[in-house]
């Protein structure tokens, strides 16, 4: 069973954005800093007015790993996990499973687009290669 995140005021937009097919990132409404993981306050300027905005949903692989060990009984292996620098959100990385690709073909610098997997009230981001 996949453990799910608990929904909070600051992270609900991120985890529910997939219902509309959107990658929702938190930004400071004052200094425009991208804030991830989402927070109620901007860590740069302490502004408490934050907003969630849809970004393009694309990015570039900063790093990755291919997991071969079934950590829980029903885990299907191997699969790749990609740490992706998200376009339009400076400094933000979203780490997610890579789908629709042979895990051994993932590379640093590869371009990815987001897709989502719905479990209960959570839409988990997943990355798939753009080409």
């Amino acid at each position: 069973m996949t453990p799910l995140p608990e929904l909070t005021a600051e992270n609900t937009a991120f985890w529910n954005g997939g219902a509309d097919g959107k990658l929702m990132i938190t930004f400071c409404s004052d200094c425009a800093a991208a804030i991830h993981p989402p927070q109620l306050v901007c860590p740069k300027c302490w502004c408490e007015t934050i907003e969630s905005k849809a970004v393009a949903g694309t990015g570039t692989v900063y790093s990755y790993t291919v997991n071969h060990q079934p950590w829980v009984p029903d885990m299907q292996v191997p699969f790749a996990l990609a740490v992706v620098d998200v376009d339009d959100a400076s400094g933000v990385r979203v780490t997610a499973e890579v789908v629709n690709a042979d895990p051994e073909t993932v590379t640093i610098g590869q371009r990815m687009r987001v897709t989502f997997r719905n479990l209960d009230d959570i839409w988990l981001p997943q990355w798939e290669p753009m080409i």
Binding site: P5, E6, H36, V66, L81, G91
Partner: protein
């Protein structure tokens, strides 16, 4: 606080796999050995500290808190604390140093007890933080639901980026694992005693690329006790006090395993830079290195963080034979966690103290007078310098 605190005793239980011994039995064995080492009695102990405190989020990861250990040992204390959120597994030793430096206590018993080998076997569960909980909060909630359930995944993508930028290969990490195994074969307390070759290392199954089985430390059952004493009280102990020359606990990035701008560095770099600001000593003054090796990749990170070589140079530093038996900067001379077992840094510190007291037997580093200890990986980091006069 420099030179106001010292390590005066260390003790370790008989570390093993699937010992089926209660955690408290391991703890008492380690405490008796530490008190004997220090020449103290239980009535001399007036402080107690641990990391992280009693926890049930991962099987056998921390079965004992300060409360039960105080009760079991009949301690009357003037200071006690368990520190889950401090700067690494070293936090209780740092807090103990601050407690004795400010007069809160004279002799603080710091402990770490684990029964991960027996407990994971019984529960048929690996060490997965947060497993079994209905919903996850905090930084785990951005990793575990994605399938990044194990620290080996988090260390895996750090290693992959590091390999990409600096041309490190699996063979370099193999040299770390093989060197530590060679030390383990000289340490009767180490759990992994069979020889390890590069062929063995490369043939072992992949866990989370580029990290394979021998890049991961070994879950064990055991306990370790480190006694931290006020410098003036330390002079009355049985062994020469090991002065805490400097500590570092700085952290410049947020508490995640994926958002630090440069993942070829980690919290160790911040903590270590801060530590060197508090001493006139330099890396070239160090005789013995005790570096966190929950995963082999942390060793080159710590070497660079502490300034033993430049950023990206660890692969050559390792390949030149600096860190194994006979090297100029021997790392984890007791076998480390890769071959000695996962005591969450306490075992590494135990070995460093053993070396400084000249008790290293066949693995003794000649005339070892100074040691550096770095604990933690990812955003978790604490650094400490020890010396004898």
């Amino acid at each position: 606080m420099t030179t106001k605190a010292a390590v005066t005793g260390v003790g370790m239980s008989q570390i093993g796999r699937r010992t089926e011994r209660p955690a408290m039995a391991h703890l008492v064995e380690a405490a008796k050995r530490a008190l004997h080492c220090a020449g103290l009695t239980k009535d001399d102990i007036d402080g107690i500290a641990t990391y992280p405190g009693k926890a049930d989020n991962s099987p056998g990861m921390s079965p004992l808190g300060t409360g039960e250990v105080r009760n079991a040992l009949g301690l009357k204390t003037r200071w006690h604390s368990a520190i889950p959120d401090g700067p690494s597994q070293m936090a209780p030793i740092m807090v103990a140093a601050m407690a004795v430096a400010t007069g809160q206590a004279r002799h603080v018993l710091c402990f770490r007890a684990l029964t991960e080998s027996s407990s994971q076997t019984a529960a048929q569960r690996a060490s997965i933080p947060g497993a079994g909980k209905a919903r996850l909060g905090g930084w785990l909630s951005n990793l575990v639901p994605a399938g990044a359930m194990s620290a080996s995944n988090w260390a895996g993508w750090m290693a992959m980026r590091y390999f990409h930028e600096f041309g490190m290969t699996r063979e370099h990490l193999g040299m770390v694992a093989i060197g530590e195994r060679a030390f383990a074969q000289l340490n009767p307390l180490a759990v992994m005693q069979t020889p390890l070759t590069m062929d063995d290392y490369l043939a072992a199954r992949m866990i989370s690329s580029p990290l394979g089985l021998f890049d991961c430390d070994v879950p064990i059952d055991g306990a370790c006790v480190v006694i931290v004493s006020a410098a003036d009280a330390a002079r009355d102990c049985a062994r020469e006090p090991l002065i805490i020359e400097a500590m570092g606990a700085a952290l410049g990035s947020q508490e995640t395993w994926d958002q630090r701008a440069d993942l070829t560095t980690m919290g160790a770099h911040d903590a270590s830079a801060d530590m060197w600001l508090r001493t006139d000593m330099k890396p070239e003054d160090i005789d013995v290195l005790a570096l966190y090796d929950g995963f082999s990749i942390f060793v080159p990170y710590w070497l660079e963080a502490l300034g033993f070589c430049g950023h990206g140079e660890a692969k050559d530093f390792i390949a030149e034979g600096n860190i194994g038996p006979g090297g100029r900067f021997p790392v984890n001379t007791g076998g480390g966690q890769l071959s000695g077992g996962r005591l969450h840094g306490f075992g590494l510190l135990h070995e460093a103290c053993t070396q400084l007291w000249g008790d290293g037997g066949g693995r003794q580093v000649a005339n070892a007078k100074t040691a550096v200890c770095g604990m933690g990986g990812g955003f978790i980091a604490g650094s400490m310098l020890l010396r004898r006069d």
